[in-house]
Amino acid sequence: MAVATFGGRRPRLYRHLPTLGPHCDGQLADARDLPFYLTHAVLPWSRSGDVLLCASASGDDGSANGLRLPQNQKAWFVPVGRAALHAAIERRFRTRLARNAAFALARAEPRLSAQRVVLPGQAMAFAGCVAAIGIASVLFPYGTAIVLTILLGLGFASNIVFRALLVWIGAAEFPHPEGRPDADDLPLYTVLVPMYREANMARHIVRSLNALEYPRTRLQVIFAVERDDDETYGALAEQRLPPHFEIIRVPPGTPRTKPRACNYALNFVRGEFLVIYDAEDRPEPDQLKRSVAAFRAAPDRVACLQARLNFYNRRGWLAVMFTLDYSLWFDFLLSGLDRIGVPMPLGGTSNHLRTSVVREIGGWDPFNVTEDADLGIRLAAKGYRVSVLDSTTFEEAADTLPNWLRQRSRWLKGYIQTWLVHMRDPLRLFRNVGWKGFVGFQLFVGGTFVSALLNPLLWMVFVVSALFGVEIFRDGDALVVARVSLAGLITGNALFIYLAMLGLVRRGWLHFAIYALTAPVYWLLVSIAGYRGLLQLLRRPFYWEKTHHGALADP
C-alpha cells in the first residue's frame, strides 16, 4: 500500500462514472484509515480492474489526498449522499466504532474514566477513615460526635456561603458580545440529539430544530438513536426530515448510556462547533448564532459555552420548585463560577462545544451518568475554559415525583462519580485547576451531594429536639452537637429559601417567590434522591435511569 498523493495533482470527482453497486466491499476499507474516511467523507467501495471506486460525500476535490491505495491503483470518486456514506461506514466499522465509543477514554486515560468506581487506594483511604471514626466513637463518643458535627457543620456552612457568594458574583451584568455574525461567516454547526425510547418527542424536537435561525447549508443535525429502538427511529423517519438531518443508529452495547451514544455519533460530526440537545428541548431560535458570536469573541481556550436552561411547564409544586432550582443554578451559580474561573460542571443539555477539543480530550465518559458535569471538569483540568452563553433552552421539568426522583438520583450519583474520578489524584487536580478551582470543585461538586446527604441528619436532630426539647441532649456534651446541628439546619435552610427567591429575579418570575418558602421540603426530597443515588452507585453504578418526557411536548 502507498499513500496516494496523485503526483501533486488534486484528485477529481468523476461525476459521470459508473454508479456504485448496492453493496460495499468491506475488505477494501482499512480500519486504520477510519478517521480519514470519517473526516473526508470518503470510503473505498468496490474494485473494477485497476480502478478503485470510492464513495465520496464531501464534494471536495481534495478529499482523497492521503487515501491509502495499492500500488498502480487508480481511484475514482463517485458522489453519494452523506447519509448513504455514513450508513456504509457504520455497516463496515460498527463494532469498532461502538467499542471505541464505550472504551476509548478508559483505554487512553483510565484514571479519568468512571469505569472503576473507586481505585484500591481510594477504597483503602475510605476504609481507613471509617475505621478511625469507629475507633474514636468507641473511645470518645461525645468528643467524636462534637468534632464530626462541627466539621460537617463547617462543610455545610461553607457550601452555602460559597453559593451565596456565587449568586452575588453571578448577579453582575455580563459583557455579552453584541451583534450577530454575518450569514457568510457562519461555520458548519452540528446539533446532536441522542434519543432513546422517545418516539413521542420526535415531532416536538424536529419542530424545535427547524425553528433554529441558522442557514440550513451550514447546519448538520444528527439524531443518535439506539439500534434496537425502532419506535423512535420510525417516529423520526415519519417527520420528513430535511436533507441536513441524519439518523445515526447506535449499535447495542454496554454501558447503554447517553454519553456512549454521543461518542458514537461524534464520529460523524462535521461541524466546527457542536451542541447537544435533548429530545424535549426548545432552544431559543438564535442560540446557535449567539454561540458563534460568543466563541468568536472568546479566547481559543474557551472550549465550551453552557446555555442557560429552564422549563416551559412551570405548573404544579414540583415543577415550580424545579424551576426555582434551575433558575438559581443556571442564571446565577454557573455565571458566578464562570466569573471566578472555577471548573463548571456542565448541565445535561445545550453544551456548545468546539468539536476539535471534544475529540482531543476523548469525548464523553460513557461510564459516568453525569457525563456533562465530568466533561466540564475534564476541560478545566486540560486547561480549557467553560463559559456561560446568554441564551436559554427551555425543557420539560419532571413534574411527577417518581420521574423527578429518578432524574435527581442519577444526577447526584453522577456527581459522586465525578468527584471520585477527579479525586483519584488530588495533587494532579490541584496542579491542573489551581487552588481556586480545587476549592471550588470541592464546594460545588462535592458540596452538592454532601449537603444532600447531610441534610436529613440535621433534620433528625431537629425533630428529636422539637419533640422532646433540646434538653434531651443535655447529657454530657450532646447539647453542643444539637445546637450546632440546629444552627446549621436553620441558617442553611433560611439561606436556601432566600437564594431560591433571588434566583427568580433575573427572569422576573417573582410570582413564584412564595413557593421558595417550601424549599426545605424540596431539599428533603433532594436528600432522598441523594441516598437513592448513593445506593445505586454501590449496586448499579453505570445504570442510566431514564427520565420520561412528553407529557407537555407540544404545549
Binding site: 452575588w168 448577579a171 453582575a172 433571588l502 417573582l510 410570582h511 417567590a513
Partner: protein, 276 residues
C-alpha cells in the same frame, strides 16, 4: 479594637459610600471627592462618637441602605440591589435599638411596587422582607434566650466611653432641630420629585424621622444626635438623585455645604452648651 481606631475606620467607610453614591450618579471624580468630604464633615457624624451613642454604626448602615435603595430604585430586576437592600436594612436593625422600627417603616415605602400582578408584587415584597424579618426573629430569639441585645451592646461598646455625657440635648426642641441639616436636601429632591430614586431617599428619611419620634413616645432612651448622624447620608443621596445639567458647577456644592454648616450650628447651639 478601641473607638480611637474604630471611629475613623467607620467614618472612612461612610465617606467611601458617599463617594460611590455620587460616582454612580455620574458626578465627576473631583466633584464627588469634594461633596463626599463636605458631607462627611456633618456634625452628627463627628459628635455621635463622642456621645454615649452608637450613631456611627447607624450612619454606616444608613449609608449602605441609601446606596442600595438608589440602586434598587434604578433596577428592580437586579438581584444584587435586592440583596443589598435587604442586607442593609438588617444592618440598620443590628446597628441601633430603633433599627427595627426604621426597617419596618422603610421597607414598604422603598419597595415602591411596580404596576404588576398582585402575585408578582407580593413576591417582590417577600424577597425584600426576608432578611429583615429573619434578623428581627433571630434577634428576638437571641435576646429572649440569652438576654443579650446586640444593638445595645454595640451602642455601649463602640464609642469613646470616657466622653459619655459630653453631648446632651438642652431642650425638647432638639427633637425637631436635628432635622434642620436636612433642609438643603429639599432642593435636589424637589427637583426630581417624581423619580423613584427621589422617593427612595424620602422613604429612608421619613422612616428615620418617624422612628426617632417613636423612641420618644415609647420612652426609649436615644439621643437626637444619633438620628442626626443617621440622616447624614441623606445629603449625598439627595445629590445622587439630582440630575443638574452641569455636575461640575459649584452650585452642586451648595446643598451639602449649607447642610454641614447648619448641622454644626444646631449642635453647638443645642447640644453642647458647655462648649460655648
Amino acid at each position: 479594637m478601641t473607638a480611637y481606631v474604630l471611629a475613623p475606620l467607620v467614618l472612612t467607610l461612610i465617606w467611601i459610600l458617599f463617594f460611590r453614591m455620587l460616582r454612580s450618579a455620574d458626578y465627576p471624580v473631583p466633584m464627588s471627592l469634594a461633596v463626599a468630604f463636605v458631607c462627611i464633615a456633618q456634625a452628627g457624624l463627628w459628635v455621635s462618637p463622642l456621645s454615649a451613642a452608637g450613631g456611627l454604626w447607624f450612619a454606616l448602615a444608613m449609608a449602605l441602605a441609601a446606596s442600595s435603595a438608589l440602586a434598587f430604585a434604578e433596577r428592580q430586576d437586579d438581584a444584587r440591589a435586592i440583596f443589598a437592600l435587604g442586607g442593609s436594612l438588617a444592618a440598620i436593625q443590628l446597628a441601633d435599638p430603633s433599627g427595627d422600627i426604621v426597617a419596618a417603616l422603610a421597607l414598604p415605602m422603598l419597595a415602591g411596587l411596580p404596576r404588576a400582578r398582585f402575585s408578582r408584587n407580593a413576591g417582590l415584597l417577600l424577597v425584600l422582607l426576608f432578611i429583615p424579618c429573619l434578623t428581627a426573629i433571630g434577634m428576638a430569639w437571641f435576646t429572649t434566650q440569652t438576654h443579650f441585645n446586640f444593638a445595645q451592646w454595640l451602642a455601649r461598646n463602640s464609642q469613646i466611653s470616657a466622653a459619655s455625657g459630653f453631648v446632651e440635648s438642652r431642650s425638647r426642641a432638639s427633637w425637631v432641630l436635628f432635622l434642620a441639616p436636612l433642609l438643603p436636601a429639599i432642593v435636589p429632591v424637589a427637583a426630581e420629585f417624581r423619580s423613584r430614586r427621589s422617593w427612595s431617599v424620602l422613604a429612608l428619611v421619613l422612616s428615620v424621622v418617624l422612628a426617632s419620634f417613636a423612641t420618644v413616645l415609647l420612652q426609649i432612651s436615644r439621643s437626637p444626635v444619633i438620628f442626626m448622624a443617621a440622616l447624614a447620608p441623606a445629603i449625598p443621596a439627595s445629590l445622587a438623585v439630582w440630575r443638574p445639567e452641569d455636575r461640575r458647577t459649584l452650585r452642586v456644592l451648595l446643598p451639602p455645604i449649607a447642610s454641614t454648616v447648619l448641622s454644626w450650628i444646631v449642635v453647638l447651639a443645642e447640644f453642647v452648651p458647655s462648649v460655648r
